[in-house]
Amino acid sequence: MKALWKKYKQNKLAQGIFLLIYIGVTSLSLFLAQKSVTAFLLLLASLLLLYFTSFKNLTKWLIAGVVLVFLLPFTASNGDGYQSYMEVATLVGIYISMALGLNIVVGMAGLLDLGFIAFFAVGAYTYGIFATAQANNFMPFGHFPLSGESFWIFILLGCFVAALFGVLLGIPVLRVKGDYLAIVTLGFGEIIRIIFNNLDRPLNITNGAMGLSSVTPPRLFGMDFIYPSQFYYVVLVILIFTIFTVLRFEHSKIGRSWKAVRENEIAAQAMGVPLVKTKLMAFAIGASFSGMMGVVFAAKQAFVDPTSFTLLESITILVMVILGGMGSVPGVILGAAVMTILNLQVLTEVTNWLNQLSTSGAISIPDALSPSKMQRMIFGLLLILFALYRPQGLLPARNRKYNEKALQKGSKGAAGETIPEQSPIEKAQEV
């Protein structure tokens, strides 16, 4: 058995064939079944399988692209469950983006943030206010709601406004460290929510607890976006942008300085890393993804109110990061996907199933014990189990491996005999 596994791990062809069969079977069953959550989940799981193959990165991206852009929406579109699948997939995408943003702050820069949902709220309200008649209340000029075409600009706007909020919150908050930082960010997250909840007087900006309803749907080439199956593509594009950005930053000067600050602030500073700037950058970049997704969320729900942005949401995103693996991009993606699906699909399905059983009289379960009501307890248990048995998360963070051979060659090529005297970086740039 072990030998077979070893062989499989080395044989790309076998991996390819297995993956193809797996994707084929699951997508076919999703296509044929009227409503099969299992098939849907199994097809999504093919991406995990793909992650563990030894294909080149580009190949993996292409296959994942094909699955997500064509295969998943197409095979799901055949049954009644289509929109509900796409709704789940869209939410998964939104949560992954947010978790990746929080991962920059918590996982890479080591700043525990318990109020992260605030930036999502900022994005959602940015669009919500101007895409409803709400803005007429306080804007002296212009006519609101803005048209659905403006949505695309608002994605960018949400990104920048959230980043700005990240910096504004960061400046006072980053004076404190460690546990204190967690408490202060928690406070700020709540303050933002409460402000949105109360900003209907004296000037009605957010419409308070009533929320903003009938948000204008996005519009592109004369087509209105109202179905989850349409938002799915918007989310997919932003998600891919997020993942690329995160990976780029992780393996750059900035990513290294985040990790350096996390590992040892004093040493990082002594090596020339500006502490405040580095932390603010983590806050701003992390927040920007949430801001974008907030805009999408507002448009998708067509309704924004403060109850979507509670502390529990902040904690849920944090749990995604911790379960997935702090600092690990693939881990956080998996963590967010698993948590969202668990929350939206598995728990509700199990509840439905138990309900059916109890109505048919097979068993009787009191309503208070239904799994969907025990969401927090289940998440809590999961966290405890992970803390005990797998503290680094599902896919622990791994450092990039540098190619020793190439560096050896580079080192000989660049240096002649020994190391150049001053800064060889500048020298290398001249060449």
């Binding site: 950005t245 780029r248 930053f249 393996h251 750059s252 000067k253 900035i254 290294r256 300085s257 990790k259 350096a260 590992e263 040892n264 004093i266 040493a267 990082a268 500073q269 002594a270 090596m271 020339g272 890393v273 500006p274 502490l275 963070a397 450092n399 990039r400 491996k401 540098y402 020793e404 560096l407 050896q408 580079g410 080192s411 660049a414 240096a415 020994t418 190391i419 005297e421 001053q422 800064s423 060889p424 970086i425 500048e426 290398a428 740039q429």
Partner: protein, 258 residues
Amino acid sequence: MSILEVQNLSKKFGGLTANQDVSMTVEKNSITAVIGPNGAGKTTFFNMITGVYQPTSGIILLENEKLNGLKPHVVCQRGISRTFQNIRLFNEMTVLENVMVGMHTHLKAGLFGILFNLPTTRKEELATEIKAYQLLEYVGLDSFLNEKACNLSYGAQRRLEIARAIAASPKILLLDEPAAGMNPKETKELTQLIKKMRDEFNLTVLLIEHDMKLVMEISEQIFVLDHGEKIAEGKPEDIRNNPKVIEAYLGSGAVHAG
């Protein structure tokens, strides 16, 4: 020619005076040692130079420019980098990345360049990797490049800290007890390394050390602190025979007895 000048530097922690009116001039390209019994205020002195602590009074001049009030990262940009008495590596990062962080101040990549992976950014990253690798070769850690820093042996961690500090291309390198915890063989290699670095990188080395053999062997100038005050300065042979120094180390009475 002097490169670093410190005038009447004092540091008080509440009622405790850690440094009292310390003045010294460090010659360019020299290897200078700061010695003294435990708690004499040596590390505090380094911390003031590197901006970790702000002096209570006194001034610090690097090539005649004041360093007082600057943040540690600015001091690093000005050309002073250091190692720490209690090793401070980026433990979860690889050995190579530790050194790459050392080059932070010299990297020009901006947000835009990183996001779009512009050719200049890519080139700079590659050059950074190669220089970091060269520095690892220099301190003999090249075979550990992908190892986590915390997995290195104690002596290797000390050398990695030196490589990281050198990566900032400093004018002055401050070493806080670089030989602490090393065996005699490692200490000997370290002595060679410090000399070699000084010559090849055109460095000025200022070091704190308790290993008197090492200190006497490599330093050209020695400053002695005791109870926060400078009690002596001079060449190794002068310091060795200075009664005040012997008294500080061995307690009063030792001079007469010996």
